[in-house]
């Protein structure tokens, strides 16, 4: 008795490896295990892999290779910028110095915890932090940006696409306003890179964070793009790797995998994005035709192609997630790092959702590995599960 293969629809949490990634990681681990900073030929061989990946990652986001700093992932990239932007003794005092600067930090109210918690940490050390609100679709109000820029902040950091509902922020517009006001600008592009075209020049930012495993790369590797000339004080001091911007022995296998994933994404993104959007819309239509009393959250158009965040009336999202899991379908109720209920979703709270709408939601995120047959299987089982969850509980539970 074989159960049907599982269907993975949680690509906002992580993605399966892209073609060639597993081989690249294995080959680097097996054959190019030398220290990429070593002067000998073995070291050079490993270093070539690192530099080739650097070119590929830079190409994916329209940056220059020397502007790429490899990190352990988006959490590190974001922490590095938020705690290390600015020059020592420059007009922007760094967070790690004792005295906060005159200008504070501006973020959106819907940032990922690694940004939100970093700025909360700054705030506890006396920094002024402004959090720009969002509308019901999760979009930052440009009017709020203008307000937040007076007095001039030291740094503006707004995510490119939201991890929960997938809403894409007008980062280029925000960056333009912020730059005009004289602030440095960072964007956490973790959910966007590899899924939609991202170009650092078009965005006009100074720093951009990305993570490999969100687009088919390995876990534990990511990058921070730092515009040439943009000031940055490192978090990691040591051997001076990455031009002194991030010390630590090169994670050659991880960087090799990241490079292959970046090259694959650059080549396939346009076609894959269309296919993923088509599957997502097929799922959306299918669920709507089978279930009454639901709302799709996030922006109707300015949204990542794979994101479908849905609130079901009179249903506990977590119960629906578990029922789908037991039926072989992986979705989530929120960020995997908090696997969260209402309290742990400041994103939905910022969008003005009441507790019922927030608790009744699940996040379904389609990826390039999914098929129409899989989507149809989900559409086949989901309405019955929702109907079952909406039935009144048995008498023994009502007492």
């Amino acid at each position: 008795m074989g159960s049907p293969p599982r269907i993975y629809l949680d690509c906002a949490a992580t993605t399966p490896p892209a073609p060639g990634v597993v081989e690249a990681v294995r080959d680097a681990l097996a054959d190019s295990w030398a220290n990429a900073s070593s002067a000998h030929a073995d070291g050079s061989r490993a270093r070539r892999i690192v530099e080739e990946s650097r070119v590929r990652v830079a190409a994916l986001i329209g940056g220059r290779p020397d502007e790429i700093v490899f990190t352990s992932g988006a959490t590190e990239s974001n922490n590095t910028v938020l705690k290390g932007f600015g020059k020592p003794n420059a007009q922007f005092r760094r967070p790690l110095e004792l005295r906060p600067p005159s200008g504070g930090v501006v973020v959106s109210a819907v940032e990922h915890p690694c940004v939100a918690e970093s700025v909360a940490w700054l705030e506890r050390r006396g920094w002024k932090v402004s959090r720009m609100g969002v509308d019901e679709t999760g979009l930052v109000d440009p009017g709020d940006v203008r307000k937040a820029l007076r007095p001039k902040p030291a740094l503006v950091s707004v995510m490119l696409a939201n991890h929960e509902v997938g809403t894409i922020q007008p980062v280029a517009l925000i960056a333009k306003l912020a730059k005009a006001a004289g602030a440095l600008v960072h964007t956490d592009a973790t959910q966007a890179v590899g899924r939609i075209p991202v170009d650092v020049e078009a965005l006009g930012v100074d720093y951009l964070s990305l993570s490999g495993h969100k687009f088919g790369g390995p876990k534990g590797v990511g990058a921070l793009w730092v515009r040439r000339g943009a000031p940055l004080v490192p978090l990691n001091h040591g051997g001076g790797q990455e031009g002194g911007r991030r010390s630590g022995t090169y994670n050659v296998p991880g960087i090799a995998g990241l490079g292959v994933a970046a090259a694959y994404a650059a080549r396939e993104m346009a076609a894959a994005g269309e296919r993923v959007r088509g599957l997502r819309d097929r799922l959306d239509r299918g669920i709507r035709s089978g279930v009454q009393g639901l709302r799709v959250n996030g922006h109707p158009e300015l949204r990542l192609p794979g994101h479908l965040h849905v609130s079901f009336d009179l249903v506990e999202g977590e119960a629906l997630m578990m029922r789908l899991d037991l039926a072989g379908i992986a979705v989530s109720t929120g960020p995997a790092c908090s696997a969260g209920a209402y309290e742990s979703s400041p994103v939905l709270a910022a969008m003005g959702f009441g507790e019922a709408r927030a608790r009744g939601s699940v996040r379904i995120t389609v990826g390039a590995h999914n098929t129409a047959a899989e989507i149809d299987r989900v559409v086949g089982v989901l309405p019955a599960i929702v109907a079952d969850l909406r039935r009144a509980p048995p008498a023994w539970l009502r007492s």
Partner: protein, 341 residues
């Protein structure tokens, strides 16, 4: 496969073995771990479920735990009582929210690793009974289960000793077979209740008085004291003195002799009857390591019961439970509101 049963899994040896027994009996087991604390990590629980070969889910009950267990715990201490958080958790979460979730998952029952027994009784009523191994019995913490739910609860360890359970865990190759018992309150780091209460409730100095009302010392907050306590009073004089009462309204701690600790009975509130409510002779347990001792109960209005002990009892502590037994059968129980001298 047999009926679907949700096994509450903490990661400890008891709940793991309970789940394994049901799985071996052919049930369609779904392991569920309740996520109760902000920083909880459920990694090793997943490994147990994987080893035993059934699916596992994590239920986020952080909000509910804070509202139903932690906040009432702090409120009780602030009111001069000594609360029983495990009983609140059992009633509100394990056999409340988790049982409801079990229903949503198509299960007919929740199983836990408690040492207690549930058995069919007469007239469609189910009985909640002490564990076969009286030294392990945890029924005292289960008095709040509403009687309609009993038939949807399984305690697979009710007939077993702890040694049986550990042997079973070893036979199953469970990594947690030798894991020590958890004795502390799960949400208090390192078992430092005083430190936790100081962090959450601060200090609120007041007077320590004797039973005649004379001031004999000072305390740093009524929430640091519990009935019967001798240590940490820092009083002058040689005669042994115990906390005999805590009065949050006047912010005083009252101390007295060992005889002053004795009570002839207590008032109990919020009583839940599992058996048919009764008047007369029962056994009463007034804390987890106690009795039961002979007493008579007289139900009053609004879930109140007056208990009169056959012999005076020491350290009757408001906030703890008074649980009524007839032999091994748990009849009902409630929260001690006050001692009767």
């Amino acid at each position: 496969m047999g009926e679907r049963i949700v096994a509450a899994m903490s990661g400890g040896v008891d709940s793991s073995v309970a789940a394994a027994i049901l799985r071996e009996a052919g049930h369609d087991v779904v392991g569920v771990t309740m996520r109760l604390l902000p920083a909880a990590d459920v990694g090793d629980v997943r490994a147990v479920a994987e080893k035993l070969g059934f699916p596992h889910e994590v239920m986020d009950l952080r909000d509910e735990f804070r509202r139903a267990v932690v906040e009432p715990f702090l409120a009780a201490y602030a009111a001069g009582r000594t609360p029983l958080p495990c009983a609140a958790c059992n009633h509100a979460l394990k056999f409340g929210a988790l049982l409801r979730r079990a229903g949503e998952l198509g299960a007919t029952a929740v199983a836990t690793g408690h040492y207690a027994r549930v058995e069919p009784g007469e007239g469609g009523r189910w009985r909640l009974r002490r564990a076969r191994d009286a030294s392990r019995d945890q029924s005292y913490f289960l008095y709040g289960i509403t009687p309609e739910r009993l038939s949807h609860i399984r305690f697979p360890l009710g007939e077993m000793t702890k040694d049986d359970v550990r042997a079973k865990a070893r036979a199953l190759g469970l990594a947690n077979a030798e894991k020590p018992d958890s004795q502390e309150i799960c949400f208090i780091p390192g078992g430092d209740t005083a430190g936790y209460l100081r962090e959450k409730l601060g200090e609120k100095p007041g007077a320590i008085v004797d039973t005649a009302g004379r001031k004999v010392g000072e305390h740093s907050g009524v929430h640091f004291y519990t009935i019967g306590q001798r240590r940490g009073l820092n009083l002058q004089g040689t005669e042994p003195r115990h906390v005999v009462a805590v009065n949050a309204a006047t912010n005083t701690v009252i101390v007295g002799s060992e005889d002053d600790l004795l009570s002839s009975g207590c008032e109990v509130e919020g009583v839940n009857w599992i058996a048919a409510p009764r008047t007369g002779s029962v056994g009463v347990k007034i804390r987890s390591r106690h009795g039961p001792v002979p007493a008579t109960v007289t139900p009053g209005v609004e879930g109140r019961v007056t208990v009169r002990f056959a012999e005076p009892q020491r350290s009757v502590t408001p906030g703890q439970a008074a649980v009524f037994y007839a032999g091994d059968d748990l009849l009902g129980g409630g929260t001690i509101a006050s001692a009767v001298r």
